[in-house]
Point group: C2
Chain length 331, copies 2
Amino acid sequence: MRDIHILDVSLRDGSHSMKHQYSEQQVRDIARGLNQAGVEYFEVAHGDGLGGSSLQYGLSAVDELKLIEAAANECTDSKVAVLLIPGIGIKDDLKNAVNAGAKMARVATHVTEADISAQHIAYSRELGLKTAGFLMMAHMAPTSVIVEQAKLFESYGAEIVYVTDSAGYLLPDQVTERIRALKENIGCEIGFHAHNNMSLAMANSLAAIEAGATYIDGSLRALGAGSGNTQTEVLVAVLQRMGIQTGVDLYNIIDVANDIVAPILPRPQEISGSSLIMGYAGVYSSFLLHTEKASKQFGVDERDILVELGRRKTVGGQEDLIYEVAQSLRK
Amino acid sequence: MRDIHILDVSLRDGSHSMKHQYSEQQVRDIARGLNQAGVEYFEVAHGDGLGGSSLQYGLSAVDELKLIEAAANECTDSKVAVLLIPGIGIKDDLKNAVNAGAKMARVATHVTEADISAQHIAYSRELGLKTAGFLMMAHMAPTSVIVEQAKLFESYGAEIVYVTDSAGYLLPDQVTERIRALKENIGCEIGFHAHNNMSLAMANSLAAIEAGATYIDGSLRALGAGSGNTQTEVLVAVLQRMGIQTGVDLYNIIDVANDIVAPILPRPQEISGSSLIMGYAGVYSSFLLHTEKASKQFGVDERDILVELGRRKTVGGQEDLIYEVAQSLRK
């Protein structure tokens, strides 16, 4: 009996922190641990989802289908989820993931672009996958837009809609407002995915639960992009203290985090100056490299550039704007 | 104009993480940075307060009076605070600290023992120090007791009373309840000191502010005992986004954290399995070593020992109980 469904993203969002270099053995070990600890779902894919392995997003060390299969083979109870961003991944990737053992798909779009996911969500349902829509950069749209986009996901067949704080920007009250509005306006279940750039991943996850979310993402040792995610083993401890059932064994999940994940971390998941500014500004961490260059070229503090990019609600793909903003700030 | 007074404890609680090995130059550099960033107060002392340097609590590399003096010499605006735990420190330590340049004293006792602080608080006021009472392990007493103890502090002359979540145990609602009760029942200002063992330091600090606290502790890069404290530079960013004035410059404080503190960290301030269990159980981190020994001796999971010690509200000085608990759990 579970009140809250924890979905662990160590093997997907955590892939960013691992620079997409997970070995098959590492995936097998973590998957076995998650399964033994009783984690209901965990996601396996390139950090940018199925098909993400590329020069642009970073090449994976091992083909993700091999990793999905390795993970699925360790599962007696847990189910493997995959993430698909239409445009990066294609429908065939979903079919291949199912053949490799995936049981759930999360179709992810920018917060204003749910309409590009219709086919993928429908196909995911057709394949028999538990299917979710995943609204990224959810701080960039007002609540009314989030409700409208969630309704699109629902109309395509999504069974869960996630609010995704990709930049770790949201404050707890803003999470409450978004989740509550979804709860009042859509029929499917609601999920929340936090990032810890402002040290609020746990606070925001609790706010989401209180407002009606039932699916919460976490990652072991907080392994994920930026400052990482809600720390799975800590989430289990906090919810256990609150009397909320997750079905996860606390000691077992701590053992996976400490004994399997901690030793392979390339760097600890701290809140550094740059990840803090990402969260404060509300921009993608992929902007950082270009911003550093533009900062040097135009002699402008990179933090001012990032804050201005956030103010302009700049999204991935608009990297050219970074130089334009730097130039305008020099004046 | 400040809505919230931030007190940085990197040079006191952070001393635990540094194993009390701060050099005079490091203290000088951090103090200069804090002063430039506009931090109103920062604390300098052994992790266990004035007089803490000892075989029992760990020997400091440099005499704390030298460190206080070095820090005070860097201050044009910031004020140096010291912590004193009666029994570890004595009244003369306060006088020496004043001579070295301290402007504020926080007199700390276990949550039920404010009555041992009467002389120290009175003497601190006599010395012209801004004076606070600091209730440690605040999760161990119900709110009614905290109010009663705070009233004692107030009656001795304390101008601020702190609720101190030494073990990182409290949930946000529990912080709200405690701070709100103080707000309703005492006249002096209210402070809050968090630890991040349950990933709730920021959430709890915000809950405290919302309930009426005006003094909030933080530390750079979260440097402190257990999983560390509320991360000062992140707190500044979060409060700035909320429109709450702290008087601290965001970019400057990030620079101190990144350029001065991060390079000297002996280890990053993560939430490890053992610090998580400390917070979950609500026990002092000083119990860990004995618990490991007892665990091996009696073949009992050390986490079970810690949870049972927490349930029994065991405090520092009762280390013998650790073996007794381990033995009883073996049965």
